[in-house]
Assembly symmetry: C2
Homo-oligomer: 402 residues x 2
């Protein structure tokens, strides 16, 4: 008998039919002799509807009260799913975050799970009940309800799996698993059977949108074996686990991120600490800088380029304008007409030819590279937005054509 | 500084505008220097919508899961109301049933409040916060969420007032208070300034639909002073309190109840224990009998008439048919074309002329009385349904014309 933790997202339980479908999946696993704990998100648009209700009354409502409101979305899901399982004749109990013992810090709206008191969960499992837990929520030390923020239900599932020592944590979503790249823009894209935590982290933060980073970080920390699969079919998904057990494939995926903008500070005084000054100023304003490129100075001036999220562009430019007397750039240029294209793979750390091969692919496709950044398991380039899809296809063909 | 407990029903908070309106009422009382605890129901049709969602998935869902589902309705209300109060700049905190320490028995769907642990409530009040509590809900000894059933939010409010030793428990509804009779059928109806617990109990059970009986019973038990008033205007409502403090008015109200049916067992054997046999059989089937009339027998046979709720008529007739060999009635007659018209007043116990005066009013109006039943503070008559409105008016004119 194995202990399986499953997580179903909002689209998987969006209406009565989908709820019954999910209930059948769960009871199949249960009837095969396994213990099952399920974390569920709010149905479809419930959370958005609740936010709209709140905004109508008070757009500046406290996060404490927002969490009180939003946590009802998952409470509705868990009770409906439990009712569906009752209909299929299996013993079941639904538990809110606090009933399941999910203790968080007090950062309302984006709380982090601190511990899970598993006493109640264990008692229910000992009674051979299927346990349906409200994802995305917990309570803090004041007995107030908290929510975990974006991707919270994934994190709930992984935390439950870690606390209970589950054999597997299955994340059900509306895609078949983790793909080498976005199948909508690259015909050659294919599903990966396995991926390491670190690779998944890079892919998630690069816009793969399958798993939230916090859940993967937690899975890595507690060595929780995960799988990502579709709730709409029976296809095998993608397993996410320790690198050592993963076959070494040089490049695991290609990603594209259009949500970036480039700013260039041209002709900045070539003095020590100049870059520090600029980036400290930006960091203090709460803006995240991604790629950074600094030209080799001519002794007098140099150019500093960097990228930020597209939504932060205006605020960054305003900040630079306000401080132009400190920065003393000859010119500040910017564009949001850029995309970041990246390759990710744990294997590339030991293979110096990967970058060259990537650049060759882009060169063959006549795509101009505006910036380059590398880490141990990823290489990112900035290209014109119009070139991005072409770039993804060219790189994918080079590394991942089957 | 007084401690005021208020209760707002679903129609009082049905949309954003009404929620803001209620928030203003609450903050006015708070700013006048009072401590305020508020029990709220689910918004408008929320509970019905949730029930519909459940029915679509499983019409026979367990009551435990139904309570998990339905309790979200009040949780939505309390957070939205708290947000509205935040907007008005007053310190506020919303609490679910379990956060407010409301402990109930385990009868899901119609739980009874056992105790309220006031520690959290007192702490919030000590910090001069307005406290918004989810009505209609609590938790049982297993830490499972329970709901209180019909009229539950009224009961929550009275229980909070009792536990906190509040100075007043204000029940806000969509009517101005308790009327002498239904203003829709009697032009002369007027609002009562005061009424005793016992009178209110009789009026509530006779269909006045303003306060639920359980809340009045609890108010009486713990001597909680209540008032019933409208959330839509500033009119003084009706105070419900100990009889001793209430001015003695012979008759306090006239009620009509169309939800009744009469069954007559004609020519039953006139032997000891016959009535007992019949009514024990009906009671065992879970059917409540209201008025009972037994003719004086002729030594051989007698007639027994009684009334039941209209919805119980068919089941009762079936039961009697099945046991006709025991009952041995010559004929069983029934009709649902009857109404019960009652007068209620604590003063009538010491005034023998009241019944005669009531019958005189009906006689003058040429209304035939089919059955009569009296208690210490009420007299009920059964009339043809077509005569009921006329009867209410005639009796109201006789006793309560201003």
């Amino acid at each position: 008998m194995a202990l399986i933790v499953q997580k179903y997202g909002g689209t998987s339980v969006k209406d009565a039919e989908r709820v019954m479908n999910v209930a059948r999946r769960i009871t199949d696993v249960y009837k095969a002799g396994n213990n099952v704990v399920v974390a569920v998100s709010a149905q479809g648009d419930t959370t958005d509807d609740l936010i709209a209700k709140a905004k109508e009354i008070n757009p500046d409502a406290s996060k404490r009260e927002m969490d009180m409101l939003l946590s009802t979305g998952e409470q509705i899901s868990i009770s409906l799913l439990a009712m569906a399982i009752e209909k299929l004749g299996c013993p079941v109990v639904s538990l809110t975050g606090w009933q399941a013992g999910v203790k968080t810090d007090s950062k309302y709206g984006s709380a982090r799970i601190k511990t899970i008191d598993t006493e109640r969960l264990m008692m229910e499992l000992d009674n051979r009940r299927i346990v349906i837990v409200a994802g995305f929520q917990g309570i803090n030390k004041y007995d107030n309800i908290t929510t975990l923020g974006r991707g919270g239900s994934d994190t709930s599932a992984v935390a439950l799996a870690a606390a209970l020592g589950a054999d597997l944590c299955e994340i059900y979503t509306d895609v078949d698993g983790v793909y080498t790249t976005d199948p909508r823009i690259c015909k050659g894209a294919f599903k990966l059977d396995e991926i390491s935590y670190d690779e998944m982290l890079e892919l998630a933060s690069l816009g793969a949108n399958v798993l939230h980073n916090r859940s993967v970080e937690m899975a890595k920390k507690y060595n929780v074996k995960m799988s990502v699969r579709s709730s709409l079919n029976n296809n095998e998904g993608t397993y996410v686990k320790e690198e050592s057990q993963v076959e070494k494939m040089l490049v695991r995926g290609v990603t594209r991120d259009n949500d970036c903008a480039r700013i260039a500070l041209c002709g900045v005084e070539d003095a020590p600490g100049k870059a520090f000054q600029v980036f400290e100023m930006i960091a203090k304003a709460g803006i995240s800088v991604d790629l950074i490129l600094q030209s080799i100075g001519d002794g007098k001036t140099k150019d500093i380029s960097f990228t930020v999220a597209e939504g932060d562009l205006d605020a960054t430019l305003e900040l630079l304008e306000k401080n132009k007397s400190i920065i003393k750039a000859r010119e500040i240029k910017s564009t949001s007409d850029v995309s970041k294209v990246s390759i990710v793979g744990a294997g590339m750390v030991n293979n110096s030819g990967v970058a060259a091969k990537m650049f060759e692919a882009l060169s063959d496709a006549h795509i101009n590279i505006k910036m380059i950044a590398t880490s141990e398991i990823k290489i990112s380039v900035l290209v014109a937005q119009k070139d991005a899809e072409h770039a993804v296809n060219a790189i994918h063909d080079k590394f991942l054509s089957k």
